[in-house]
Structure formats: structure tokens, C-alpha cells
Symmetry: C2
Subunit: 318 residues, 2 copies
């Protein structure tokens, strides 16, 4: 975790995504005083209704505290959100992120601070992008050079070097898993069986997905092993989802290794709290990595660190 | 095409799959005299109703010709079909396939001949399987050593060596494409735009999917380029499906090459007639391959060649 100077007063951090609104009220030293979580994702908010929605949702805190600094991260800063905040290019520091933030004075005197996402112009064929995860990476801490993975629908692998986020790459592992187990021949084979029931099948999936033979080079062939394993009587319907989960996460690690994100014996940070972290840690250990678990408050820590890094810089929008 | 001795009399070849029933009436020399195609796929037929359904659907021919040899291929020979015909293991010849067929005398005196699928016990982690494509491969011809690809939902790559099908591997390319363009972030980005509109986007997808840089090793990262390309203004909504099609087929070729199926300058057979062949031929040429197009009658030619190879072998079921 980064060392964050104390901020001047109580403040709010809001992770406002496509399907949910999650806010925390923090004291100057970063202690969580209260939480508000609702289903008011940005997809349900009209383009010109963001300020009113924000003030309505935070009304209890604003009534008690008066005007507050409100840091906003996530898709609320995207084209489909309130104000599109341009990406800050890698490599970048927390100060660069603060410098890319957009501030807006609200009708009640509060200041909304919309943090930017980042892109990686070095990525081929097109610059890669993230919006929200960079705040978690800052919250993990940039002091030591490291590789960090943030598991999810679209997993992010990032390199930290010289106190900066030096580059990153997105893998669509979680989405591919959901497509396969919900809509494909794998969904039909698995039937009503849910994942999480078979750690043996998960381990087997890891082992096959991580293989150093040529089979590991042929991901679209490996996926078919979910069917051939059943036909061979080696996988039961109840095993399939866990097997495919291990297979795909192991393939993600294998592909990330090919891209230079780690070598045998390296340390790796795993950040996030969506239930995938334990699975990613299992796979990381299979690849001979030492796992450093990030705090579940990485997003809050990161937002505070960026806020602290940006003190003194001000450029108001609108 | 294999050279097939003339068979003794008119006969029928039926490709009976999960969703359709397709039969041809052939003269002794293989000329197509008539066709019957219906939607009576095996999923709509009760386990004990296959014989009656077959006789009903072929009634016009049976009434005119009397008893006929009726060769059946496809999922009708699977566990979910009429009679489960065990897989014949690779390497195998047309004679081996004939030897693995199951014959059944029908109430009208006709003989149903159910051809086996094949498996490849050398494949890891589990033996790979096909049921129907092996007949097309035989129809393509086993005279010259070659690699053959059969594009589809589950593409098959097969090696022909020494007059036998020596081994094969399945890639789930078509299914992955359908999942991505129907249900994923790619579906939402593409909107109502259909594929086939942009050969430029298809070519660009091929180029990115085939790249010899490390990006080509990271398929789950490459897939995300469908989004980053739009964010970068390099791909339009109308381009996305063609771009992803090129990307995935090129990745299939790259993975098949890693598995040893071809090298620069090789010849490759492309068999099938589901509309993907032109796309696969484009990708094959991008990889420096010389394309040999299979006949659209490969399944019929193969069924006849297997029938001819099996003359004299008889083992009746039930």
C-alpha cells in the first residue's frame, strides 16, 4: 500500500460503474465512516442527470457534512458516463493521473473530481485501455517494481517500474469463460452443475492449460478437451465448469508469460475482490510465482493517493 | 478424389445430423439421381423410431427401387442417434472404416450401413473425436500425403500419410466466433452490422491474428483489440465482425502450424461447403500455403469409397 499523506478533510470516493454505484465516506486519515451502495449504474442515468443523481444518492452525507470533495472513478468517466475524461498514457505516475483529472464545482459547493483511465500506446495493434483498474494499481503501491494482475471479465496485467505504471495488457478471460459455460457446447454438457464444486477438476484444467507441450500453444483446441474429456469418461458434467475455469486462467498466465510479464520465481501482485483472486493465486503458484495479495481497499487507497499527489493542481471543467 | 470402383447397384447416402436429414439416391456409377432434404434432425426422433422415420422419409425411392443399401453418416451414429457406432482409432484406412461400420437389415429388406466416426488416441489431454468429417476426408482422397482442414463450428485439421488418416485435431473456432459476435462486448459494439461487408477489416484481422510477434501468442489479449480498435477510431462498427472472423481464423492457422500441421509453402486441402471455405483459403494464402479445394461432394465420394473398400466384410448388428 502506498504511504498517503493525510488529506485536509472528510471526502468521498465513488466507484460508479455500468451497473452499480458504490460510495464510501472517508475521514481525513482514510478511515471508512460510511458506505452507500445502489443499483444506479451509469446505464440507467440520463446524460444530463449525473450531477442531480450524485447529489441525491449522497444526500445523507452532504446534509451532515456540507460540501465535500467527491472523487469519481470507473465508467462514469467514459464516453457513456457523465464527463469523458481523456486517457493518460503509460508510463504514468499518480501525479500524472491527478493532472489528468477533471474537476467540476457542483451546485451545493462540493467538488467532483473525475479521475482519468489510462492507455498504453505501445500496445499492438491498438493502444490498450483501462478505466478504474489504474486506481487499484496505485492503491496496491508503486514503490517496488512488480507485475500486478487484476482478475475480472477483462483481466488486466500491468507492469510497475520506477514508481510508474509502465505498461499493461488486457485479457478477455472472464468474458470467454462466461460465454463458454453459458452458451456453448460446454454449457449443454455441464447442465445445471455449478462451478466451485470440484477443486480436482480445476487443478486438472490448470495443468492442461499450463502445459509446456505444443498443446499449450493451441488454445482453441484445448477448449475442445472439455468435450473429449467427457467422452473419454475422464470428466463428469459436474467437473466441466471448474475444468474450463482452470484451463482458461492457466492459458491467461501462459500468454502473459509469453508477453514477458513474469518468469519463474517472480513475485506477482493480485488485486481485486470479485472472488477470482483465490483461483488466480492457485494458478500463479502453479507457474512458480510468489503471490502478494492486494488490499481489498486498493481502489480507495489509490483514489486517496492520486488525490494527495494532485494537491495544488487545479483545472476546472465547464 | 479417390478412384472408386463401380458399386453393384443404386444406393443411398444419408447425412443425418442433429438438425437435418439429407439423402441422395445414387446410381451404381455415383451419379446423383435424386435428393431428399428435411428438417427431421436426430434431436426430433425418438430412440426407437429411427428405422420407421428412415423408411418413411425414403419411401418414394424405396417404392420405386425396392430394397436399397443405405449408408448413414453423422450424428445418427452417435450416442444420441440410432445406433452408437464405436470410434475407429487413427491411423486408419477406408477399409478400417468399413470394418467398423454397423449393418442392420430393415423390415423392407434394405440394408442400413452406419459408418463409424474416428478418434485420435495420440491427442492430449484426451483422444480427439470426429463423426462425419472422416467420410469427407476419405472423399477428398488419401493418395497423397497432405494436411486437410474442414472449416466449421468445430474445425478439424487432419493429416493424411501413407494412404491413411494418421491423426487430427479439433479447433472450436466457429463456435468461439459465434459466441463473441452474438453475446459478448463485440456483439454490443457491432450492433446490427453483419459480417461480409468489409474485406479490408477481414484482411486486417488476418494480419493481426497471424502476426509473428508476441502479440500472436496472446489470443485472449488479441480478442480485446476488437474494442481497442474501435476506441482508437481504426475500426467501425460495421468492421467488427469481419475483423474478428479474420483474427480467429488466422489464430486457428497459427495454432495449427505450432502443432506441426504445415510449414511455409505446403499444400493444404480445404473441404466443406458451409460458406467458410473462401475465408479459410484467404487465410491459407496469407500463411504462404497452396490451396487445393475439395469437391462439394466429398461426403458422398467418401461414403462410396468406404462402401467399396468394405465389400466382402459383413457383420450384422441386432
Amino acid at each position: 500500500m502506498p504511504s498517503i499523506p493525510e488529506l485536509p478533510a472528510a471526502h468521498v470516493v465513488v466507484d460508479w460503474g455500468t451497473t452499480s454505484f458504490r460510495a464510501v465516506l472517508l475521514s481525513a486519515d482514510g478511515a471508512i465512516r460510511d458506505r452507500i451502495e445502489t443499483g444506479d449504474g451509469i446505464q440507467f442515468v440520463d446524460k444530463d442527470a449525473f450531477e442531480a443523481t450524485l447529489l441525491r444518492l449522497l444526500e445523507p452525507w452532504l446534509a451532515a457534512e456540507g460540501a465535500l470533495d467527491i472523487v469519481l472513478v470507473g465508467m462514469v468517466t467514459s464516453r457513456n458516463g457523465w464527463i469523458e475524461v481523456p486517457y493518460v498514457p503509460c508510463p504514468c505516475t499518480p501525479g500524472d493521473l491527478a493532472g489528468g483529472a477533471v474537476r467540476r464545482r457542483l451546485v451545493n459547493g462540493s467538488c467532483a473530481i473525475l479521475l482519468p483511465g489510462i492507455n498504453d500506446p505501445a500496445r499492438k495493434p491498438f493502444p490498450d485501455v483501462m478505466r478504474g483498474e489504474e486506481t487499484q494499481i496505485v492503491g496496491f503501491g508503486l514503490e517496488k517494481d512488480a507485475t500486478i494482475v487484476l482478475p475480472g471479465t477483462h483481466s488486466k496485467w500491468a507492469r510497475i517500474a520506477g514508481g510508474r505504471i509502465s505498461g499493461f495488457r488486457t485479457f478477455v478471460t472472464g468474458e470467454l469463460y462466461a460465454l463458454l459455460v453459458q452458451h456453448s457446447f460446454i454449457a449443454r454438457a455441464a447442465g445445471a452443475a455449478t462451478e466451485g464444486g470440484s477443486s480436482t477438476a480445476f487443478e486438472r484444467g490448470i495443468s492442461e492449460g499450463a502445459t509446456d507441450t505444443i498443446d499449450g500453444e493451441a488454445m482453441m483446441s484445448l477448449i475442445f478437451s472439455a468435450r473429449t474429456g467427457m467422452l473419454a469418461g475422464e470428466l463428469a458434467a459436474a467437473d466441466i465448469r471448474d475444468y474450463v475455469s482452470g484451463l482458461l486462467i492457466a492459458q491467461e498466465f501462459r500468454q502473459a508469460r509469453a508477453c514477458g510479464f513474469f518468469g519463474q520465481g517472480d513475485r506477482i501482485g493480485i488485486v481485486g475482490n470479485d472472488g477470482l483472486n483465490r483461483r488466480y493465486a492457485d494458478v500463479a503458484r502453479h507457474f512458480g510465482l510468489e503471490v502478494v495479495a492486494g488490499s481489498e481497499h486498493a481502489a480507495i487507497d489509490g483514489a486517496r493517493a492520486i488525490l494527495a499527489a494532485g494537491k495544488g493542481t487545479r483545472h476546472d471543467a465547464a
